[in-house]
Amino acid sequence: MRLPGVGAGLGRGLVGLYLSVIVLLPLAAVVNQSMEGGLGAFWDAVTSPQAVASLKLTVICSLIVVVINAIFGTIIAWILVRDNFPGKAAVNAVIDLPFALPTIVASLTLLALYGSDSPFGVDIAFTRAAVVVALLFVTLPFVVRAVQPLLLEMDREMEAAAASLGAGGFTIFRRIIFPNLLPGLAAGVALAFARALGEYGSVLLFAGGLPDTQVSSVFIRSQIESGNDLGASAVSVVLLVASLVLLASVTLIQRWGSRHERSSGGGLTAMPISGDVLTEDKPKERDDE
């Protein structure tokens, strides 16, 4: 449906107003607060030992998490597309559980599962390993849901051709399959990384806020509670910049992934939040212009 000429302008105005009030103004307030004492104070806040320790822990844990995600996410996507086993539909459905389950519930159950009462006898609560496991839980769907549609669409004749020319299983994966999956994998990894950097709820009860396990979001929370708005804002701005860079890279990856289908999607992004990223259909007809 097209809005009449004036309608589109009015619509844009309303959308702009809504986004400003809901998203942009609040974020501007954080940036403004972080610069309250000038650049020097900002820098001091970001480089305070506690802030640096939290940022370092967050980045290292998130990197570990995305590497594990890339490997297991691809394996899971693979068995969901290429393998057949009883209960596959149920497994496919449960992949999105981390998107649906509240993070605080995840934290509580991970604590019960891998804490001092662990039925498996694995007690990693309040350690850095707990941070990693909590982040693994919440970021699980991203890579699976980004890789899955690409695997579904992949032309299997290429693999057959490679096999007939004598390529082994590993060579086929490395030379044929992997390059085709790379755009999805990269987008999934970038989104998982962004999510991991900012995660709070799932880490809270399971890993706690000990000096050793304090990720940046927990650090920000503690700064707010102790009334240090500048310290909280400064680290928030660092996270904010990281989010922007990661989102921009997702957009670039998607352009790169769809470079053969130019102009597809009109430059709008698709997110692997529902299992159909990077499968943007070309709009049939554009009635504008």
Binding site: M1, G16, A29, V30, F99, A194, S236, G267, L268
Partner: protein, 266 residues
């Protein structure tokens, strides 16, 4: 057993084993933990005045945030897809922000904007409007975190359906409202519904952003996820798990709805 069967079984075991340990075990454990000491303790906790209030407040968050973001989402998706404009990529980028920003940063941003020293805080306080540590602030936080879902789910569907039918309707004399209600909306309804389900799930479970702006006052500004944390902090395991079970059941209902809608969409 030849080589390819072996590798298939290997991958299957790895993938499913990983899922069992990371997803399935926690889910199953919630049920066990909740009823560890019988039915009474968790039920008592949820039906306590604070528990019931938390449940009601959570549903209120959903009842306000979801319709607002749905109307915005559909309108915004129509603008982005049907009206090419040089500012569209900017709008598109802003809409994705809540996906990537830490909920704690979102909470802090509202805390600063509406706080006593914030840009809006003093003016609103003079007018007698309380945003922080009360329901309006929590609603703003819920709207912020769940903003992208309807837009993101509606845009690809709108792109896919094209404009042929809408043009036909217009040619036959339908006005904009008729075209939208009779042609566009029915065509995009499953995509929108999917976005609504994701929005609802996010609002139900939001913890980080809401925890900062709410103050988590028992029986006043406590949603169900905040109730879980408070109960845990007060060593009331049964209460924490009881509320968790309610949230987990809602999550399972969400998953079920997602899968039904995906099938409709396909």
């Amino acid at each position: 057993m030849n080589n390819s069967t072996a590798s298939r079984w290997g991958l299957r075991t790895l993938g499913l084993g990983y899922l069992a340990l990371l997803l399935l075990a926690p889910l199953v454990l919630i049920f066990f933990k909740t009823f560890e000491d019988g039915l009474a303790p968790p039920i008592d906790a949820i039906t306590s005045p604070d528990g019931l209030h938390a449940l009601k407040l959570t549903l209120l968050m959903v009842a306000v945030s979801v319709p607002i973001n749905t109307i915005f989402g559909v309108g915004c998706a129509l603008l982005l897809v049907r009206h090419r404009w040089k500012g569209n990529p900017v709008i598109d980028a802003i809409i994705n922000l809540p996906f990537a920003i830490s909920p704690i940063v979102i909470g802090l941003s509202l805390f600063l904007l509406y706080g006593t020293d914030g840009w809006f805080g003093p003016t609103l306080a003079d007018a007698g409007i309380k945003i922080l540590f009360s329901v309006p602030g929590m609603i703003l936080a819920s709207i912020f975190v769940s903003l992208p879902f309807v837009v993101r789910e509606t845009v690809p569907v709108l792109q896919e359906i094209g404009t042929d039918q809408e043009q036909a309707a217009t040619t036959l004399g339908a006005n904009a409202r008729q075209t939208f209600l009779r042609i566009t909306l029915p065509a995009i309804r499953w995509g929108v519904a999917y976005g609504v389900v994701l929005t609802t799930a996010r609002v139900l479970g939001e913890f980080g952003a809401v925890t900062i702006v709410s103050g988590s006052i028992n029986g006043q500004t406590q949603t169900l996820p905040l109730f879980v944390e408070k109960q845990y902090a007060n060593f009331n395991q049964a209460g924490a798990y009881g509320a968790s079970l309610v949230l987990a059941l809602l999550a399972l209902a969400t998953l079920l709805a997602m899968n039904l809608l995906k099938r409709k969409e396909a």
